[in-house]
């Protein structure tokens, strides 16, 4: 009897059915043949010399009948439009006016040479894709949770003076509604509207920044309700819906979500509203007032949102609009359109900013004057316009 033989009476093990490993030698480089070394996506031209990882996972995922999509879109709305029509914005990139190539019996499938029009040249400078989205946002939520935990453990909230407690409950709390409304109904909505995958991915990430910031503030508010006796966790609702100081912001935020043109919506929100209202409130009021009122925690939340806007969302926004301002075919058209948007939205946002002015007098330890803050916001806004190659509108002087 060998060691592998069953002993009499022992139970036989049923043979397990499993796939068998097979040596196939199907790895790169195992043979030479036509195409064996062509290991890059060959259907697009990279922005720089070499294709980036970001480009590889985003470019061309959303097709276009002007170049490769030979059979055209297959499903349309009731009016027969399908896909991502270029006229969902009045802005134009070079090539936008060329008709979709006609297909007919024997036409073949050729469209215009890639990229066919200038919209496809947009690249998100943040290079947002799956890994970056979760890495960045996880870092933010982890850091914020740790900051709040540390503050709770060190009883930091006890150092806040009563007025500041009320200010955070009412006014910092009210800002969560702006984030939520714009995040969902402006940015998430716009992620269906732009002509390329690169645009829509960047816009959807912007959307998540705003929704996350809204939730950050809401959950912070919940923590404060648990930690600070008398903290009114519902005060933000009343402030948002009824406080006259907030009605200008509320009206403007709602008006932003009502914009039909996706590019105008992103432009109005990120080029006009954010510097003139968002940063004014966050950087020139909350961040300035909090330390003097004993609060080192709130600035970390507000700072996270500020970073998202200033270092990521504004970056892609500039990369989106600046090439359109100097577009080789439609520069004048686009500049006139953007000027008209500025003429519309600057007065609205300035009016919203000014309605916030009473907030500057509410904390015990006062921030720098409202007018000084507004001047800084305007200066920042002028800088953004200069980066985009746009003139400062006369309405800014109102």
């Amino acid at each position: 009897m060998t060691a592998t033989q069953e002993r009499p009476g022992s139970q036989e093990q049923p043979q397990r059915s499993v796939p068998k490993p097979v040596f196939t030698d199907a790895e790169a480089g195992a043979r030479e043949f036509p195409d064996s070394t062509l290991r890059r996506f060959n259907y697009y031209v990279p922005r720089k010399r070499k294709q980036s990882h970001y480009e590889d996972v985003t470019v061309e995922v959303q097709p276009d009948p002007r170049h490769y999509l030979s059979q055209g879109w297959l499903y349309g709305f009731a009016d027969g439009t399908g896909g991502y029509p270029l006229d969902w914005t009045v802005l134009k990139a070079w090539g936008s006016d060329r008709p979709v190539p006609e297909r007919f019996p024997g036409s073949g499938g050729q469209g215009y040479e890639w990229p066919a029009h200038g919209w496809h040249e947009f690249r998100d400078p943040n290079e947002e894709w799956e890994q970056s989205i979760y890495r960045n946002n996880s870092n933010v939520v982890r850091q914020l949770s740790q900051n709040i935990d540390a503050a709770r453990q060190s009883k930091a909230f006890e150092q806040w003076n009563p007025n500041w407690v009320q200010f955070v409950a009412q006014h910092v709390g009210a800002w969560m509604h702006v984030d939520h409304g714009l995040g969902l109904y402006l940015f998430a909505n716009a992620n269906r509207r732009a002509p390329t995958n690169m645009h829509n991915t960047a816009i959807s990430v912007n959307s998540m920044h705003r929704i996350r910031s809204a939730q950050d503030l809401a959950l912070y508010n919940l923590t404060l309700s648990e930690e600070i006796p008398g903290f009114d966790g519902t005060a933000h609702n009343e402030t948002w819906s009824a406080d006259p100081a907030w009605q200008g912001v509320r009206e403007t935020a709602e008006q932003l979500t009502a914009i039909w043109d996706w590019a105008e919506a992103v432009f109005a929100a990120n080029v006009v509203f954010e510097p003139l209202v968002g940063e004014l409130f966050r950087s020139n009021l909350v961040q300035q007032a909090a330390p003097g009122n004993g609060d080192f925690v709130t600035p970390t939340l507000i700072g996270a949102e500020e970073y998202d806007y200033a270092e990521r969302d504004l970056r892609y926004t500039k990369a989106l609009f600046e090439p359109l301002v100097r577009d080789k075919e439609f520069a004048t058209h686009n500049t006139e359109i953007m000027d008209s948007w500025l003429a519309t939205w600057v007065p609205r946002c300035l009016a919203a900013a000014r309605t916030l002015q009473p907030l500057w007098s509410q904390p015990d330890a006062k921030p720098p004057r409202f007018e000084d803050g507004l001047d800084r916001a305007k200066s920042r806004f002028r800088g953004i316009l200069a980066d985009l190659g746009l003139r400062t509108p006369k309405e800014l002087n109102q």
Partner: protein, 549 residues
């Protein structure tokens, strides 16, 4: 965060929504459904504070596995037969994923429930995750698998190939037309709840059996997000059900969505699982067995049938007919045979079936050999160029099929082909339900009811039309499916990478012109068309010409 605090946190974020006082958000999309405002709960209670780190952790596992696969030389063990079909699958699937992200805003104004909007926004970013993680997997395959051709041209191929176009319905159907039909019924209620089981669970299992454990790594990670999406869909469905006037539309949309998903997904995934595998263990489940378990039992019996208690008529007949097509009418086998017939228009390689494959098919699908065996033997005989033409142009008892105008899969179950004149054009359909979809469902009135928001079938839906009477060498060049020597085809009907055994443009030059079936159909007289129809429905199985009387 404790479970209790998750519930509290989720409750808190409900305070974020507000009723507009000055301006309503823009309404870009319409629906013929009616909804009453209702406090339908978001069942998963997801907040971003826990969502982002959860997904990041899932990513760590995916990318760790990818590192491990490369370090462990996984590609020395992957089956080329399997990897070749991934060139098709991974060219298609990133678009449906990103289209699902784009679909979410269709529901914001049409479903008046802010709590659900939160879940929809999270689904939006989930789908961005899925699309880019799948593109990344394809990139990894391109870099590490022996033959990068077809991966390297993936998204161009997907856009101009007949097979990619079939798959594109599983994306465009999410983002156009009636908002609820598209983003809720077609996407979440049918595609995600029913068919992601075969896409993202059954298929990765087959990948692992073929030495590829990266597809399961990525797609199981994707699938773990799907439960959230399924909940989104179900919550919307319950809201729709609460208004009886919606039932007529729900019944229409379930019929369309179920049938179109069956036509498209079962064609593709069935082929990958049955014809893309080298695992021929008799006790491994066939696609039909998987379908019975994942779709018939888990979806139809456990999910759809219980909806009857709300008074909804569910499409029992179409579920049974889908099964009938898979089990009795050989749907998957007919599709695989068509893919192989048309290998010259592909961007992946399809190798012949072997004796071991024959034995497995006969065991799993009794009678398979009598129907398909001889044809696959011919495919094998004609796989290496040797003075003959590609199989599509040789006499192997196969009649080239007409394409279904609606689902765009050819009318392969010949006896079911339906002919109709719609919008002034003669069209062929694979089934009466596909005819109904085009001629009845996707119209501005339905059963006498105004449905102004219903979508339209558009586009050049027959691929062959574009190349009517072209030589196939010119077709392949036009599509760009030529390797870097300027003559060798990307597609091959075998897996041998010896350049001397690979087909080139020169071989295709010898083929006759390729006429469009639909153009030809529309050039016929009424009598010719009737005779054509009578002949077509007598063809098959396995594409055999109609028997001579």
């Amino acid at each position: 965060m404790t479970r209790q605090s998750v519930a509290k946190a989720h409750q808190k974020i409900q305070e974020l929504a507000w009723e507009p006082a000055y301006h309503e958000p823009v309404s870009h999309y319409g629906t013929d459904y009616t909804f009453r405002k209702a406090k339908k709960k978001d069942p998963l209670k997801q907040v971003l504070r826990s969502y982002f780190p959860m997904e990041e952790e899932k990513d760590h596992r995916v990318y760790g596995a990818q590192d491990g696969a490369i370090r462990g030389n996984m590609f020395r063990q992957v089956q080329q037969r399997w990897m070749e079909w991934q060139k098709l699958f991974l060219s298609i699937i990133p678009l449906p994923e990103i289209s699902a992200a784009r679909a979410m805003p269709l529901l914001f104004r049409t479903v008046p429930n802010p709590e659900l909007h939160n879940g929809q926004a999270i689904q939006m970013i989930d789908e961005v995750r899925h699309s880019t993680i799948q593109q990344n997997l394809k990139r990894l395959y391109m870099n590490n698998y022996i033959d990068p051709a077809g991966f390297n041209s993936s998204l161009r191929n997907f856009q101009n190939d007949y097979a990619g176009t079939i798959g594109r319905q599983f994306a465009e159907g999410f983002i156009t037309g009636d908002a609820i039909t598209a983003a809720s019924i077609y996407l979440t209620i049918v595609a995600e709840t029913a068919f992601t089981n075969t896409l993202f669970v059954a298929m990765p299992g087959e990948a692992a059996a073929n030495g590829d454990y990266l597809l399961p790594t990525v797609f199981h990670s994707v699938q773990s997000d799907e439960s959230r999406h399924i909940s989104n869909g179900y919550a919307t469905l319950l809201m729709a059900l609460s208004d009886e006037t919606n039932h007529q539309l729900l019944e229409r949309d379930l019929r369309y969505a179920w049938w179109n998903n069956h036509c498209v997904v079962d064609a593709a995934i069935g082929t990958f699982i049955e014809y893309g595998t080298k695992d021929r263990r008799k006790d491994r489940e066939s696609y039909a067995e998987m379908w019975r378990r994942w779709i018939y039992d888990d979806y139809y019996r456990s999910y759809l049938v219980p909806l009857e208690k709300y008074g909804l008529v569910i499409p029992h007949d179409l579920v049974e007919e889908a099964w009938n097509r898979i089990w009795n009418k050989g749907y998957v086998h007919e599709v695989a045979q068509f893919f192989a017939t048309g290998w010259i228009a592909n961007y992946w390689r399809i190798d012949p079936m072997t004796d071991e494959d024959f034995e497995w098919f006969e065991y799993k699908y009794p009678g398979w050999y009598d129907k398909y065996g001889a044809w696959w033997e011919n495919y094998n005989r004609l796989s290496v160029p040797n003075g003959h033409k590609p199989i599509a142009f040789e006499d192997v008892d196969y009649a080239y099929p007409h394409r279904c105008w609606t689902c765009m899969v050819p009318c392969l179950i010949r006896q079911d082909m339906v002919l109709d004149e719609v919008d002034g054009q003669w069209r062929t359909y694979c089934s009466e339900t596909c005819r109904w979809t085009d001629a009845v469902a996707f119209r501005p009135t339905y059963q006498g009811r105004q449905t102004p928001n219903m979508g339209k079938l558009i586009g050049s839906r027959e691929w062959e039309t574009l190349y009517h009477n072209w030589n196939f060498a010119d077709i392949v060049k036009d599509m760009g499916y030529v390797r870097d020597d300027g003559k060798t085809l990307v597609a091959q009907p075998h897996l041998d990478l010896d350049p001397k055994k690979m087909w080139t443009l020169d071989h295709l030059r010898k083929c006759p012109p390729f006429p469009s079936p639909n153009v030809t159909l529309n050039e016929m007289t009424d009598e010719q068309r009737q005779a054509f129809h009578a002949d077509y429905v007598r063809q098959g199985p396995a594409g055999r010409p109609a028997p001579q009387d």
